[in-house]
């Protein structure tokens, strides 16, 4: 009688730990998906901001029509993009056009002094930061999830229920891939 009870207890323990691991994996997967959705939210906020920015900058930067138009165009492309791959490309494009706009705007001192403009700039900075943070959070979550998938005994359960490793959010723009120079 006794050995059977012990065996039964062990079996219950085993099942319970299996359920625990499975649930924690599901939880992490959901949180990875959630983090991905967060990036989307932040990207959308940037889209909403750009018409305002372009409108304000127009008054001062009559000569930079080309730069402004490319920002508007990149935004439209990002809004219209349907597949994830297109979307990433369009967003990267938007980021780089915004950067060039910021660089050009350095030449216009009145633009910096303008109240509305400095406000829009702050909003743009925070939008960029939020995108960065959302991406960072996503990558951290992916890292956690992927690590959890490979640990024993999680890997058995992950294989059984076909949990797949999530992909990192990577930058495609070659300029951003350049490793900063390290100085000592």
């Amino acid at each position: 009688m006794m050995p059977i009870l012990v065996l039964l207890g062990l079996a219950v323990l085993l099942v319970m730990s299996f359920v625990g691991i499975y649930n924690s994996l599901v939880q992490m997967k959901v949180s990875v998906q959630n983090a991905w959705a967060q990036i989307d939210v932040q990207l959308k906020r940037r889209h909403d901001l750009i018409p305002n920015l372009v409108e304000t900058a127009k008054g001062y930067m009559a000569h930079e029509r080309g730069t402004l138009e490319s920002v508007t165009k990149a935004r439209q492309m990002a809004v219209d993009a349907s597949t994830v791959k297109d979307k990433l490309a369009a967003e990267n494009m938007l980021t780089s056009t915004l950067r060039s706009l910021l660089a050009v705007s350095e030449n216009y001192p009145q633009l910096k002094a303008d109240q509305t403009m400095s406000r829009v700039m702050e909003e743009l900075t925070t939008a960029e930061n939020k995108i960065g943070f959302a991406r960072q959070f996503y990558n951290d979550e992916v890292n956690r999830y992927n690590a959890a998938l490979q640990i024993f005994p999680n890997n058995i359960i992950a294989g059984q229920f076909s949990f797949k490793a999530a992909e990192f959010f990577q930058l495609d723009a070659p300029a951003e891939r350049v490793v900063p120079q390290v100085k000592f």
Binding site: Q38, Q42, R119, E122, T125, T126, N129, K130, F133, A134
Partner: protein, 505 residues
């Protein structure tokens, strides 16, 4: 040794977890010890007065269980009592107001707090608050209804760069994300049960001595005395434990801030700047040192690394914190110091030469601390000025000098004055009497400051000119005759005296 922020976070989390458990365990054990001591004394008196020996042993399990239940209830009760309305109370005390959306700087703070929310995965809703003071500090609070608050002083908001403020906000968000604010209340409140026991026993002790005198059994008095001593010792140990946890938490929040912003340098710079400025000692809202990014009160203690500060401070030494952060970016403290363009010791603006934002500084906190600077409430330290011992405020560089010593200082000539002071002295000497009568306003207005050396009686100092010729404003206490010189006022007076009495060449 490069020590990554992930590793720090992990290590500190473990330390904090175990020491927190240890502290709670210690709380229960110490109450048990007190109960056992009481029981032992009861036994003794029982044995001495009655015949049959009690059959029960000193230590029995039901007693332990009851003690633990009682201790748990008392702890929970105190805890509930103190966390109720905690955030509103703290905010009210510091007169903090929600960051507005109209003001550019406050909007920036709002944005940064939102960024911190995004960086922590949007699990917390954090409200940004502004503390209206020129001091540099920040705090975080959280309660069980899921409300969290980050407060930043206006001084910090206007003096640090965006990246540095971001780092500070991330540090505070780190406190919230790791649940520090919640466990802080537990550690700080749990030993308040001991305070109450202490008070009660103290009262009873006084009762035995005064009231019943020697008629009552000496055993009773001895018991109370021992319990009193024991409670105090245990409470002290618990206090040390909670301070230790508080310090570990700061390290962890620093590491978390780095994880959120990936910018150790900005946090190091922010800590560096804050540590060299006025952190807000003396403002209303003291007694909550542990919730701030740097201890607003104990300037000297956080700056040194002695055993004393290792044991008794709510915050780890700033230099140690900075060193850990700098280690991540392979920099030394010297390099950081050189990269800082700003002057390191900046005096609050109560000076002839200094800058002006007096409106904010004229906060009279209503507090009157003995030997604290009447302006910025840092502790006055004894120092030698021209060979004469004076009390000086290291923060705003004001002097408190006994009246007879003032003339002695004026007679000495070792000091060389800056050209600003000399110019100023010349103008004063050659300018006709000011419109104000020289006795000045001997009345007291809201600008008159309390005398630091007669703090208990709290007389206000009289602001007046030295005399009709030397129109330097000083503050003099009419009770003890000490004179307070704000920064540069003493030098100006010396310079005046020197110019006046110098033999024409």
């Amino acid at each position: 040794m490069a020590y990554s922020f992930v590793q720090i976070e992990k290590d500190k989390s473990r330390t904090i977890f175990f020491s927190f458990l240890g502290l709670v365990f210690f709380y229960f054990i110490s109450l048990l010890i007190i109960v056992l001591v009481c029981k032992y004394f009861l036994f003794r008196s029982y044995i001495s007065y009655t015949d049959p020996l009690p059959s029960a042993a000193l230590f029995d399990w039901p007693l332990v269980a009851w003690t633990f239940i009682g201790a748990g209830l008392a702890g929970t009760f105190h805890w509930q009592l103190s966390i109720r309305n905690l955030i509103n109370q703290a905010l009210g005390l510091m007169q903090a107001a929600p960051a507005s959306t109209d003001d550019a700087q406050e909007k920036m703070l709002r944005n940064m707090v939102e960024e911190a929310q995004v960086a922590t995965g949007g699990k917390f809703r954090i409200e940004p608050f502004i503390i209206p003071t020129a001091a540099l500090n920040a705090f975080a609070l959280q309660d069980f209804e899921g409300r969290s608050v980050i407060g930043i002083t206006r001084g910090l908001l206007s003096r640090l760069s965006r990246e540095q403020i971001e780092a500070v906000v991330a540090h505070e968000a780190g406190h919230i994300a790791s649940g520090d604010c919640l466990s802080t209340t537990v550690t700080s409140v749990i030993f308040r049960v001991f305070d109450n026991i202490c008070d009660a026993v103290g009262l009873m002790l006084r009762g035995t001595r005064l009231g019943r005198g020697k008629r009552d059994a000496d055993g009773y008095f001895l018991l109370l005395a021992i319990v009193f001593l024991l409670v105090n010792v245990l409470r002290f140990l618990g206090f040390l434990g909670s301070l230790f946890i508080s310090r570990e938490r700061e390290y962890r929040a620093d590491a978390l801030a780095v994880r959120l912003t990936r910018n150790p340098l900005a946090l190091a710079e922010a800590l560096f700047i804050i540590s060299h400025r006025w952190k807000g000692a003396g403002l209303p809202g003291q007694g909550m040192e542990a919730i701030f990014i740097q201890n607003p009160v104990r300037q000297a203690m956080d700056d040194q690394d002695s055993l004393f500060s290792e044991l008794f401070s709510t915050h780890p030494p700033v230099r140690k914190r900075i060193a850990i952060l700098l280690d991540m970016v392979h920099m030394t403290e010297k390099e950081l110091e050189q990269s800082m363009q700003q002057p390191l010791t900046e005096a609050p603006p109560f000076s002839v030469t200094g800058n002006v934002d007096t409106g904010v500084f004229a906060v009279s906190s209503g507090r009157n601390l003995r030997n604290a600077c009447p302006r910025c409430h840092a502790t006055l330290t004894e120092s030698s000025y021209e060979g004469i011992s004076v009390l000086v405020c290291v923060q705003c560089q004001g002097f408190l000098i006994k009246e007879p010593d003032v003339l002695r200082i004026l007679e000495r000539r070792e000091r060389v004055f800056s050209s600003v002071i000399q110019d100023r002295a010349r103008t004063i000497l050659h300018q006709p009497l000011p419109a104000r009568p020289w006795g000045g306003y001997t009345g007291f207005d809201e600008q008159s400051i309390p005398c630091p050396s007669c703090a208990d009686a709290a007389p206000r100092m009289v602001r007046r000119f030295v005399n009709p010729r030397y129109t330097v404003e000083i503050d003099r206490c009419r009770t003890c005759g000490q004179v307070w010189f704000d920064r540069d006022e003493l030098e100006l007076l010396q310079c005046l005296y020197e110019q006046d009495h110098s033999v024409p060449a």
